[in-house]
């Protein structure tokens, strides 16, 4: 099979243009439609202006930050674990955030407490991970496997904890919790959105700085060491950056699934597998998927909002399946 990779710049420009189009669409569509012509001319009345700046713009940017963060984390973890099935949930951070949120919800009630609980849960998972990576993994083997097993253990423990808590929760609490866990970009204030954007941007810069080392991991951990990569340090840094990024994003907008798995795959099919190319393109695709999913989530049955996580899967699965099967049919 001969590979035909598209030039990075062209793919990135196309993805950026599609993202921009999705963002404009997201600004105008909704329970309170804003005509595109009015948006262009800027002739909006007070009500329309407040819809635009207080409701639409924050959630569009939050969707961008969230989608990009999950995609970046997925792309980095797939390279780190040398496994195309890795996704941001692998290290157990989103489920730990979910358990933290559930405890906060039942003990203190909804709102900021839920965010704090989610952050605390994710931070605990992160701390456990750091402890194990620092103490446990020797240089020989098992470092990555240890990390993976810890993630599985955290996921299992959090699932058990959630199962116990749901028995204690009231109907209303259950509904809030399940909605949050499937993800939503609604009702986020500007400070939160700015924090999410800053977090994603920081994570993107940190991961791109390690793109070359991540690329060399394709050779295998031992061969990567012989070409000059400090594999243990790389593992530590990538795990910390992705976990912290996913923790903060998950705390505010819940576990938006599938973007972290699908976006890197779609990126690889267009620009090849080097993280130098996959990371930026996956971020753009992830942001676009989330913005579109958010549009769909609030326009199928207004004013009811559907969970974004369910929509990303519905949008992403056929896209991914069609791309993967089309590629494998080539001679």
């Amino acid at each position: 099979m001969t590979l035909h990779e598209q030039p990075l710049l062209r793919v990135a420009l196309i993805a950026a243009a599609l993202l921009a189009a999705a963002m404009v669409l997201s600004l105008v569509v909704g329970a309170y439609p804003l005509p595109f012509s009015k948006l262009l001319s800027g002739e909006l009345n007070d009500a329309e202006w407040s819809v635009l700046t207080q409701l639409r713009a924050p959630r569009v940017l939050a969707a961008c930050a969230g989608g990009a963060a999950f995609a970046l984390a997925g792309a980095a973890l797939q390279a780190l674990f040398r496994n195309p099935l890795a996704d941001p949930g692998l290290l157990g951070v989103p489920s730990a955030a979910g358990l933290g949120a559930a405890i906060a919800l039942i003990v203190m009630g909804a709102g900021a407490a839920l965010w704090l609980g989610a952050l605390a849960g994710a931070a605990l998972a992160l701390a456990a991970m750091l402890f194990v990576v620092r103490r446990g993994a020797g240089p020989m083997a098992g470092g990555t496997v240890t990390l993976l097993l810890l993630g599985i253990a955290i996921n299992a423990a959090c699932a058990a904890g959630l199962a116990l808590l749901t028995a204690l929760a009231s109907e209303g609490q259950l509904k809030t919790l399940s909605f949050w866990m499937l993800g939503s970009f609604a009702a986020l204030d500007w400070p939160v959105v700015v924090a999410m954007l800053a977090c994603t941007a920081t994570g993107a810069v940190a991961l791109l700085a390690h793109a070359n080392a991540l690329a060399a991991l394709a050779l295998g951990e031992r061969a990567a060491r012989t070409v000059g990569v400090d594999v243990q340090q790389l593992r530590f840094r990538v795990a910390v950056v992705t976990a912290a990024m996913v923790a903060i994003i998950t705390a505010f907008c819940g576990g938006v699934g599938f973007v972290g798995l699908a976006a890197p795959h779609i990126a690889r099919l267009t620009v090849g597998s080097s993280p130098r190319r996959t990371l930026p393109v996956a971020a753009l695709i992830g942001a676009m998927l989330c913005v579109l999913a958010d549009v769909v989530a609030r326009s199928i049955a207004p004013p009811i909002e559907l969970p974004v996580g369910a929509i990303t899967a519905v949008l992403g699965v056929p896209l991914l399946v069609s791309l993967v099967t089309r590629k494998s049919q080539q001679p």
């Binding site: 099979m1 001969t2 590979l3 040398r82 496994n83 195309p84 240089p139 020989m140 070359n212 080392a213 690329a215 060399a216 394709a218 050779l219 295998g220 031992r222 061969a223 990567a224 060491r225 012989t226 070409v227 000059g228 990569v229 400090d230 690889r268 090849g272 597998s273 080097s274």
Partner: protein, 254 residues
């Protein structure tokens, strides 16, 4: 430290333990620039462990291994990567990647040098696979691309002199013609660029074809370290493999 200028690699009283198990015990030898050393031994004798130690995989062993006058502990990760390449059995590449991009990973921290990549692939007779998906190549073809990666790592079309090339069973999956090609490539590069080469093999005939000296390992200890004709005696090989071995004319083509 007592290092003559031509000695590129010095190993002094090297021992490696894994828990209570003794993998290597008191191994000492030198390899000069331009010299090929063959590593022979039965399964489990410690060939791969010694290779890994020379590749710097065991932190406790690094002070016993001196490369170009400095112990491995004194070399930075990046400095040693420009002077030492390793080819050992490697896991499959998890993502789709063409052979040219694979070779480029020999120097992951600099922009790929297309001319040097092409040169390295050509030297290994692998130029035609440059845009092929690495995963679709056969084991033998992949091996030649891996060798090209090492040549690119150590210079490509502008090769450095006095490097160290470690090869763990480079001919394990090759047919006779390929084996001959790879062995002569290794020997030619060692002489032309004054590289020290250490390669392990299960076949004494391979050692005889290109090695200047041989190190015979048994149960993690050095049985013999000597010029190839002295090392590969019937007595030594019999002791090495634990069963009587007689010498006859081999099947390796010249």
């Amino acid at each position: 430290m007592n290092v003559t200028s031509s000695q590129l690699l010095n190993v002094g009283a090297l021992s490696v333990h894994a828990g209570a198990a003794r993998l290597l015990h008191d191994i000492s030898f030198d390899v000069a620039a331009g010299e090929v050393l063959a590593l022979l031994g039965a399964n489990g004798a410690g060939k791969s462990t010694l290779m890994m130690a020379l590749a710097g995989e065991f932190a406790s062993a690094n002070q016993h291994i001196t490369f170009d006058g400095h112990p491995l502990t004194a070399w930075s990760r990046h400095a040693i990567a420009q002077r030492r390449a390793v080819n050992a059995s490697e896991p499959p590449v998890p993502f789709t990647m063409n052979a040219g991009d694979y070779v480029a990973l020999g120097r992951p921290f600099v922009a790929p040098d297309d001319r040097a990549i092409a040169h390295a692939l050509t030297e290994c007779h692998a130029r035609e696979w440059r845009t092929r998906d690495y995963a679709t190549l056969s084991m033998g073809e992949q091996l030649r691309v891996q060798l090209a990666r090492s040549l690119y790592q150590l210079g490509g079309d502008d090769p450095r002199e006095r490097c160290l090339w470690l090869l763990d069973e480079p001919c394990a999956h090759l047919d006779m013609a390929q084996r001959h090609f790879v062995l002569t490539l290794i020997a030619r590069i060692a002489k032309a660029r004054r590289w020290a080469v250490v390669f392990s093999t299960h076949d004494p005939l391979e050692a005889q074809l290109i090695a200047d000296r041989a190190l015979l390992l048994r149960h993690g200890e050095a049985l013999s370290i000597a010029p190839i004709d002295i090392a590969l005696t019937e007595a030594n090989l019999s002791a090495c493999y634990g069963r009587p071995i007689t010498r006859r004319a081999g099947f390796v083509s010249e």
